[in-house]
Amino acid sequence: MYLALRELRHHRFRSLLIGGIVALIAFMVFMLTGLTRGLAHDNAALLIETRAAAFVTSKDAEGVFTRSFLTLDDVRRVQAAAGQDATPLAQSFASFSNGSRQLSAVLVGVEAGSFMAPEVAEGTALRASSVGAVVDESLREDGVALGDTLTLKPGGDTVQVTGFTRGARLNHQPVVFVTLDRWHALNPRTQGTVNAVALKTAAAADRLAGVDGLGLLTRAQTLQALPGYREEQGSLTMIQVFLVVVAAFVMAVFFYVLTLQKTPQFGLLKAIGASTRTLAGSLIAQMLLLTVLAVAAAALVTLGATALLPAGLPFALTPATLLGASALLTLVAALSSLLSLRSIARVDPLIAIGASA
């Protein structure tokens, strides 16, 4: 640390530049992480925050609810095997008007009182006899209020908003929850079928192993099967991975070039009696110090920036995610110092003698 600190302090501008690059890259990684998480949440909060551990669909649906059709007989078979921990689920897309605006949503039918029934943040929860709907609170931004009547189009059926719930979005659309009976009434062609059965525990999923003709996917697998989800997340994740790799390269090359330039100095230090271990420790200390400071600065700026983001932008960054991404960047910095360590180890103290004769 003796050498590391003094060198960084003496070459302030240089330290600031490299720290700045690392901070900018870290800032981009953080913002993209927030955006990735935000989009994931916006796309599929229903599946991310659900209490279900797995979903049963028909075998050929490969986990896509809208492609899956289970008969009530299938549902009974699943429930017989899995017990209380299984509840049917129906999903369709709906277009409706709240009087002033034309909106769209995912209409989900659930059994009132089941673990898939939405928890209300405001209003009343679904009851077995309910004909109204509990809707995602993101609809508030579109002017939907408690007690509003939504007119489904085409058809003109109406549903009254009786409650708001949080974190219910699917396919980038708000979810409108109704009871399974109401859902069947609104979707007359689907009488006698549901789209999936949600299983609350992995144990319930295990018990289902013997039931033939059905597809069983875990919650995570279902998420990946959601149309568009993997593609959207994949491209954002790819950008993040690239940024982290670029950060690693920038730091590795920067410190490598500096190390090569300082070869005579390392020769001198070794001649005096500094061990390779001391010099390597100094380099790693420098690298970590710079990275930690730069990443911390970037994290602060990110936290500040999130306050300025427009409300509608899907952005979600928890402190845990921020810490995780920071740790990853710091680890990458430590690894990228390996390139320089090799050349430090190779410096021969002999070069200090007769160096510029």
């Binding site: 003796y2 100095q265 001198l268 001649a271 061990s275 003698i353 007769g354 160096a355």
Partner: protein, 240 residues
């Protein structure tokens, strides 16, 4: 060259102090078989406490090889190197840096100081590397800076010093660990004759005053008169 041979019985009263640096038939060759190049023919040299020995010769004569071997930086092909009573040639490679740190002081020609350390820090670096007490190190550094007239420069960086001042700092640094042996590599290389003489005078004064042994490699004939002994090295052959 003083031919110090194995004496069967030391004569107590007239016996000079034991040499600090003792090179015994030390040679260095590169390559083997037909393509062998001899950088240093078997050489024997003893340097005693309080003695400044100049090794003088043209470039390419083997001065650097000689100094590297004497400084435990390079292993000789044959012969023994004994520094402060320890056979360096018998020590393992891994222990040599620590040995240099404790027993040797180096004054080198250029890139001699660390650019981002102040004059005072150049000095305290040595005990720091050796894991010594920081307060003692600071005391010793201040004392040396005072003795060598560098007090006013203590907080400056090498970039702001003249060539002569830098070499004075280098001499102070070489004395920091209280080494038995000081090795100087062309300390006057980039200095004019007045500054060059001053630097060697300072070196000689410290060597005599503190009872150190010192070897200075130089091709600067203007400073040879300040040394206690001059050995010539030509084409890898040492001549007393």
């Amino acid at each position: 060259m003083t031919a110090i041979l194995e004496m069967p019985r030391p004569v107590p009263s007239t016996e000079p102090a034991a040499p600090i640096l003792s090179l015994q038939h030390v040679s260095k060759t590169y390559g083997d078989g037909e393509g062998t190049i001899t950088a240093l023919h078997p050489a024997t040299l003893d340097v005693r406490p309080g003695e400044l020995v100049a090794v003088s010769g043209p470039s390419g004569s083997g001065k650097s090889t000689f100094l590297s071997i004497a400084g435990a930086l390079l292993r000789p092909t044959s012969g023994r190197v004994v520094i402060a009573g320890q056979d360096v040639t018998a020590q393992s490679e891994a222990t040599l840096p620590a040995f240099r740190l404790r027993h040797l002081g180096f004054v080198l020609q250029s890139s001699n100081l660390i650019p981002y350390l102040t004059v005072r820090e150049q000095l305290t670096l040595v005990p720091h590397l050796a894991g010594g007490n920081a307060r003692e190190a600071a005391q010793r550094a201040d004392e040396l800076l005072r003795t060598l007239g560098l007090e006013s420069r203590a907080r400056q960086y090498p970039g702001g010093l003249s060539g002569g001042q830098r070499q004075r700092v280098a001499i102070a640094r070489a004395l920091m660990n209280d080494p038995a042996l000081i090795l100087a590599d062309e300390p006057t290389a980039s200095l004019d004759s007045v500054r060059g003489r001053e630097v060697v005078q300072l070196l000689a004064q410290e060597v005599h005053g503190r009872g150190k042994a010192a070897v200075m490699v130089t091709h600067d004939e203007r400073v040879l008169d300040l040394c206690d002994r001059v050995v010539q090295i030509v084409d890898g052959r040492l001549k007393g």
